[in-house]
Amino acid sequence: MATATTSQTRNTVYVAIFAAMIAAMGLVPPIVIGIVPVPITLQTLGVMLAGALLGPVRGMLSSLIVVVLALAGLPLLAGGRGGLAVLLGPTGGYLLGWIFGSLVIGALFKFWVLRQKSQTGRIITGLVSVIIGGIGVIYLFGIPWTAAVTGLDLGTSAIGAIAFLPGDLIKAVVTALVAVTVHRSYRALMS
């Protein structure tokens, strides 16, 4: 009983610290790229890192906590957004996508990436995993959501998402490199 309790409290603390990291990354002023004012924040980097470092369940819970706190009214999302309007608005799907994105990244890291023996193998599989979960899954929720809510067709909705793609690819590379580096020194992080 004692050991089960110990690891449960410890897991909750890990979930909370990564939730706070996602939130803190949204508090840093956003960068505006090009003519179209697309706010680029590090927030999805936090979502990717939570999955890649904590695994599927704890990673998903970290994203879930941020979504719950934001919907309950804390202005935690990029640009100081929060409240129920965030979910009802045109970009609500991306927010839901975070939860499943970190779940998929976590599962791929746990069952695929960390079973690779070589560092290069881990970095390559890690990058593929983060792109699948952190870009593929999140866009899979975000693009149809925007289309459904606004009435735009899927193609136009997808073009809108492309503006985020360069930033997200950079974040995916950073996540893969950071996760592989950190897992090398913290071997027990996901076991």
Binding site: V13, A20, M21, L27, V36, L88, P90
Partner: protein
């Protein structure tokens, strides 16, 4: 979106009622296809927001972001379909968000969180532990300012080393220091005998 200071008539309504009304309204708005009716509803929603004397300063940034996105949606939808349907779609989203702001800005964070916990309470039967959920939520809130401080510190330190533009040089120390904070906190909780496991079995 902090509603702590709001004492209007809307703030006195129970959170569950407002939440339910918002849900019904959002579904209802999708059934309306005329921009004239939607415009009336939009004006109504703005009047409700104003009558609830919400802190409008909090709405500035979210509204700018929302209007930018809706502007892009309006133009592309207008080119693709008709300007009439573009107007309907944009007015509907704007109205929905206004009603949502009215709920969020008149409901305290605590009341909203409590409502979510009630909605999620059936999860208890599939193994979710309410004590752990509360600990997770409150720790996350507690850690946010600390992690922001750590993030700025790491960035400053790497700037001094000429590494400010190297994302890895910032992210790796940030993650390592976060993990260390988590470990210290977990140890402190355990040392004080914190135990949130269920003993009912």
């Amino acid at each position: 979106m902090i509603a702590a200071q709001n004492t209007s008539y809307l703030a006195k309504l129970p959170a569950g009622l407002k939440f339910g009304a918002l849900l019904v309204l959002s579904i209802g708005l999708y059934l309306i296809g005329s921009w004239q009716i939607l415009l009336v509803l939009l004006i109504l929603s703005v009047l409700i927001l104003l009558s609830a004397r919400v802190n409008l300063r909090q709405l500035r940034m979210p509204l700018v972001t929302l209007l930018l996105i809706l502007g892009i949606v309006f133009v592309s939808l207008g080119i693709q379909t008709t300007w009439d349907s573009a107007l309907v779609s944009v007015l509907r989203l704007l109205t929905m968000c206004m009603f949502a702001y009215a709920v969020s800005l008149t409901t305290t964070f605590d009341a909203m969180l409590e409502l979510f916990q009630q909605v999620a309470s059936p999860l208890r039967h599939v193994g979710a532990n309410p004590a752990q959920i509360s600990l997770g939520l409150s720790l996350a809130i507690r850690f946010i300012p600390e992690l922001k401080r750590v993030y700025l510190e790491v960035r400053e330190a790497q700037h001094a080393r000429g590494l400010a533009n190297n994302p890895l040089a910032v992210a790796v120390p940030l993650v390592i220091r976060s993990l260390r904070i988590a470990e210290d906190t977990a140890e402190a909780l355990e040392a004080r005998g914190y135990d949130s496991a269920e003993h009912s079995k």
